[in-house]
Structure formats: structure tokens, C-alpha cells
Symmetry: C2
Subunit: 384 residues, 2 copies
């Protein structure tokens, strides 16, 4: 995702430089400062014209290139010369402006998450036929998925395997030991509690896997006569509230490694991760919580004693009704959610006249974010 | 992976307890200490007998269960009662011993990486027909992949798509915008420098993707007459040496977010990660380095000034011949490597009489580790 800023025409008021830095003040008053090495590292002629890929390696570049001259051959470009280098570089001014790295303009790679508790107006339910026909409807549906971590389709034909063609609208299906597609229904000899009629508390799927499935798509082919409501909660909202309320507990959960396992005749999966994963900036990047697959903790005794109360508090917060969206999927409904963020569960059910049946698949994040970015490539702004 | 320790018979010498802790001294002299809450949390009867999955949530358990009595009804088990709870728990002694969480026995989820510089005796080349026929050969091949991050097959039939059936021996193929399978050869109108005859410096694939492809399998169908040697290096060894040599540089590279991008007509991929990713323990978990897809850095000026020299040093180390394994893939050779660890590259080539042609696919880590664990499930120890 390119930043959605700097869309003003890149008109220059003044250009100043010394050996180390270029300082451009734009017509709108903003000042951008670029290091000489950054400019040298990003010379347009060092990009392959066919693919846009960089042709040089940092080790090929001078260690300390000194700016010699900067001039504006026309209204749209800047020509730069460095000391002891014969070659000048031509930058487009709009490119330069778009890549300003001041505090205000530094880009983020993903649209910001909008937290929700119980529900939110921005969570969309879109008709499948509209998504097929109409780029705006597809954009609406994906925007909800990316901003809120959850989105719904209605009137998806109740056909076996249809969930795969819905997934293909967004990205690429992830194959696992459960297959490319999995049937969620009650089985006589289940290898998994999901394949029983038991209620399931809020959880994320497959934290014992590397990588953990990104998006989950679940298509309701048949609902049960009794029970089987779906439950969802925004784990990022729960984590944010916990961080506010008890930063020490949040810190324990974000640094204590938790092992998760799943074993059956054909699989032996184990992975270790904290219940709350932080990114390199210290922001919440993922929630992984699944009481069914947590392995016995293996921690030093003093860490164990800090971990258990924190784990209990998180588990209790996940039962707080104010976080929970409860609804009943009807045949033809399809929910998609970000499994690194949104927890899901269900109430217990009983198959009487009909057999409750969902079909699901996992979809990796990259394709979904790529589809979203392509939809907005030629738009001015990412929709709010 | 279960820990590969504690294989002695679990014979008890003494059992002591107070309200909070159980202390078992085993016949071999080792003492294990278990917290009361840990024991209560892991009662065998709270696991589903069919699936082994946990049926209770931590929020369902008493906050501070007090041990009342511990007795040994027979040589193989331990019966525990807690204050104010009617139900006793029966633990198998061998299970208890296996789950000792003292400093010495705490388990790791993955076999340890063995670092290599240039080459290592443990890196295996196995005949494809042997892997198909023989579980030990399959185990050898996978052990090299998991311990060293790289492994070779020879005499793989030079058929289109055969790489997919090789991948299926190990795990599940990851589909991306390049397809389930990709052809690496020189194209007249490439969307990617890999699809030219250019030399490629050491790199990891697709750091602009989320998740980054785990394992890469490359099957040589045709080598070129001139050039096109393959290069590999163990990024974990480079990172370890850098950490020894210059811990500050290592720290900069492990915390500075770097954006990577790939864009063509059908894809718009962007992700941000440090060149060296650490896990929650502070250990090196992944290397992501690709000079072709690094986006212009977007950092505060003072971070930029720390980042560039660190990035340059890393890039220079990656050219140091002592790290590099150089070899020529022959038709029928298939290399598999862990793309979060092992960097790969090639020398430039010229298609004269024949056209250099590799077919590749990505394979997600979970399936490979599961296959490896299944192979060793009934063995006493993970092979060294």
C-alpha cells in the first residue's frame, strides 16, 4: 500500500543542499529532508525498467556520497550530481514528494485496524451477486475484512466447494492437513472437537501451525434446528483494553511463549508463540488463543506463576459479553475473518431434522492485501 | 516435537507435597517440581478421550487449588486430590516425568539449527528413488532440511510438475501470484529479474509477502551451457557472526523495519519486517534479505543514519566467499531450502544450445515439521 498522503501537486518553492542533505520546501509550505545516501540508493536508473526491481546492492554504492549539485531542469524533475561520480540522477518530483520520510509522512504498509466491541457499523454484509458484478461492492466487502477483521456475504449459492470460488475473489487458499476445504459438522469419530456438536469458546484457529492461517472463510450450507449460533470478538480490542487496564498482564502475555499442539494419526503439529504477538514496533500484531490446543506450559516456576493469572484474565475477558458479536449464520451466509485478530466460537447444537454444515477454507493474507491494493491502485485514497 | 529427554523409566524415589507444589524425586536422582495449578490445569480427565484436546478453559478452573493428598496407587500412576474438590486426578508417571519443566528439561518445539559456513558434512544428497522407497532415506533428507536448512535430491525425473510430487512427500504447496509452481528461465518480457539471465546476489524470496514462503523446492530440468551456478549461504551463521562481531549492528538490523514491495499488472504486494527477525526469546528466527525488492527506506533521519551502515555491513558479509556454497545443479537435481534462513543466488548465464530451466514451488513449514515429527514419533530420539 502506498501512503495515501502527498497528493498535492509536487511544486517546489526552494531547494537547498549541502554535501549531506537535500532540503526541499514545497509550494504548500511542507519541508522534506533527504539524506544524500538515501538519494543515491534510490536512483531511478538503478531500477530495472521492465520490472521496477532494484539492480544494485547497497554494497555496490559509495559509502559516503557527497551531493555536488541539485538543479531543476523542468517543473517535474530534479537532477542530482554527486562528487566523484560522473553520472547524474534524474528524480521525478512527484516521486520525491511521495517518498518524503518526515515524521508526518512516514508510510504505513497496512490500513489501520478499526477496533470494535460487540459490533460496528463498518462491518459489512454484501450480496454475493453484487460482489461478482461490481468492483465497488467487492471493495466494500474487502475493506470491512481489512479494517474490522470480519466481513459477511449473503446469498452465496449453497453448493459444495463454492467457498473456494469465493476465496479466489480475495486471494489464495492455504492447504493444510485438513485439506484445501474442510467440512465443519458433527462426525461419529471426530479427530477434532470442531467436528462434534459441542459448543466452542472463542478461539483462533490452528495456533499450532506455522504459519498460522491468515483469513478464514466459512460458508453456511445448513444451519441446525437448535443452537449453533456463531460468536465473534475483536481480539485487538480485547488486547487494547487489557493493555490499558493492566499493562503488566499485557506484557506477560506478549512475552511468554505458549506451546500449542495438534496430533492425530496423520499429523503432528507443534508451535510456540505468545498469546499476544507484538510486531517490531511493539504494536499488537496477532492474537493466538485456543484452549483446546494449548500444551502443558513449560516455563521456569517464577514465570509460570506470572503467566497463569495473566492467561486467566485474558480468558475471562474473552467471555465478557460486551466484546461478543452473536449471530446465526443462515444457509447462503459466508463469513470471512482475520484469524490473527478475530476470535470465533459457537454455541452447542443438536442436529434434529437437518445436519448443521459449514464449509471452510483458509486464505493467506498476501493475496487479500494485494487484491485490496490493486482495487485502490488508481484511486486517490484508501477508503476510510 | 516432544522433548527427546526423560526416556528413563519413570520410577519414583520420593513424593513430597505441600498445598502449592508437588516435588518428585525420581529413582535416577532427578527432582521435578510441579505447581498445584499446573497439575490442576493438566488433569487427564479434562482432555477429550477421542481427540486429546483440552475440554476446559483456564477461566473454568479454581484460581488457587490447594493440594490435599498425593498417593501412588500403583507403580505407573499418581493420584492427586485438591482441597474442596470432590474429584481426584490420575496422572501417568511417565507423562509427568516427560513434562518436567525444570531448567534442564524444558522442551523446545523445534530441532536445533546446525550452522554452516560454505558447507557442512550433515547436508545430504539423497537419491529420489531411495526417498520414495525408504523411510530412513526420507528421514535423512528431511533431517538435513530441518537441521541445516538445505537438502538435495538427485535423479528426480526431469518432468514438468514433478517438483509438486516431491513437495507432497514433505508438506503442502503454497500458492502465490506466481502460481503453485513457477518456471525459472529467461523470458523475453519478464515481470521479475529471476526470469532473466542476470546473475542474482544472495537473497531470500518474497520478503514482500505475508506470510513469507517457508521452504523453497527447486528442480533442475535443464542447466545452461555457460554460467548459472547456484549459490547458497546460511543466513543464521552470518547473523550469528555479525552478532559476535558487532552486536550494535545486529541490534539495528533486528529492530529496523524494512519495507519490501513487488508490483506488476496483477499484484501489489508490500510487507515490512526487519532484515533479521527475532523470536520472543530474542533468538534469530528469520533472515529476509532481497536487494531487488527493498523499498526506499522510510525512517526518522537518525534511524536512517544507523540503518545504512548496518545494512551495508550485512550485504558485504553476504558476499564473503567463506559463507557461500557454490555448485551447479544438473538436470534431475532438486534442492530444497528454508527460505527464512538460507539465502540463494546464481551467477549470470547464457542460453546457447539449451535453455536453463528450473521449476520451483514453495512449501509451508507446518507440513514439513509434521512429516518430520511423524517419522520420529515412535523413535526414541530425534536424530542428531
Amino acid at each position: 500500500m502506498d501512503r495515501n498522503l502527498c497528493l498535492e501537486p509536487a511544486t517546489v518553492a526552494t531547494v537547498l543542499h549541502d554535501e549531506r542533505q537535500l532540503r526541499i520546501t514545497w509550494a504548500d509550505g511542507h519541508t522534506s529532508i533527504f539524506d544524500s545516501l538515501w538519494l543515491r540508493d534510490n536512483c531511478p536508473q538503478d531500477r530495472d525498467p521492465r520490472t521496477g526491481q532494484r539492480l544494485v546492492d547497497i554494497a555496490d554504492l559509495p559509502q559516503d556520497p557527497k551531493l555536488l549539485s541539485v538543479r531543476q531542469p523542468d517543473d517535474n524533475s530534479l537532477e542530482i550530481l554527486w562528487v566523484d561520480e560522473p553520472r547524474s540522477a534524474q528524480f521525478s518530483l512527484s516521486w520525491i514528494r511521495r517518498h518524503c520520510y518526515c515524521d508526518q509522512h512516514r508510510c504505513s504498509t497496512r490500513p489501520a485496524a478499526v477496533l470494535w466491541r460487540g459490533s460496528a457499523d463498518g462491518i459489512r454484509r454484501v450480496r454475493y451477486s453484487d460482489v461478482l458484478r461490481n468492483q465497488d461492492a467487492l471493495g466494500d466487502w474487502l475493506t470491512s475484512l481489512i479494517r474490522y477483521g470480519i466481513t459477511f456475504l449473503s446469498e452465496v449459492p449453497c453448493e459444495h466447494g463454492r467457498v473456494l470460488s469465493v476465496a479466489a475473489l480475495a486471494g489464495y487458499v492455504t492447504e493444510t492437513n485438513y485439506g484445501r476445504i474442510f467440512d465443519v459438522w458433527s462426525l461419529p469419530d471426530p479427530n477434532h472437537l470442531a467436528y462434534t456438536d459441542a459448543g466452542l469458546g472463542l478461539h483462533t484457529d490452528n495456533p499450532y501451525r506455522d504459519p498460522v492461517p491468515g483469513f478464514q472463510f466459512l460458508h453456511c450450507l445448513q444451519s441446525s434446528d437448535e443452537g449453533g449460533d456463531s460468536l465473534f470478538a475483536d481480539g485487538f480490542a480485547v488486547a487494547a483494553d487489557m493493555k490499558d487496564r493492566d499493562p503488566d498482564v499485557f506484557a506477560v502475555l506478549s512475552r511468554t511463549p505458549v506451546r500449542f499442539t495438534f496430533k492425530d494419526a496423520d499429523s503432528d503439529l507443534t508451535a510456540e508463540r505468545p498469546l499476544i504477538s507484538l510486531d517490531h514496533r511493539g504494536d499488537t500484531a496477532a492474537i493466538h488463543y485456543n484452549n483446546r490446543s494449548i500444551a502443558p506450559p513449560s516455563l521456569p516456576s517464577e514465570e509460570m506463576q506470572r503467566y497463569y493469572p495473566a492467561y486467566r484474565l485474558f480468558s475471562q475477558m474473552l467471555r465478557d459479553p460486551r466484546y461478543i458479536m452473536r449471530l446465526r449464520l443462515r444457509p447462503g451466509d459466508l463469513v470471512a475473518f482475520y484469524n490473527h485478530r478475530v476470535l470465533h466460537g459457537r454455541t452447542g447444537f443438536r442436529d434434529l431434522g437437518v445436519r448443521r454444515h459449514l464449509q471452510g477454507c483458509y486464505v493467506s493474507p498476501d493475496g487479500v492485501f494485494s487484491t485490496f491494493a490493486l482495487l485502490h491502485r488508481n484511486q486517490e485514497r484508501v477508503p476510510a
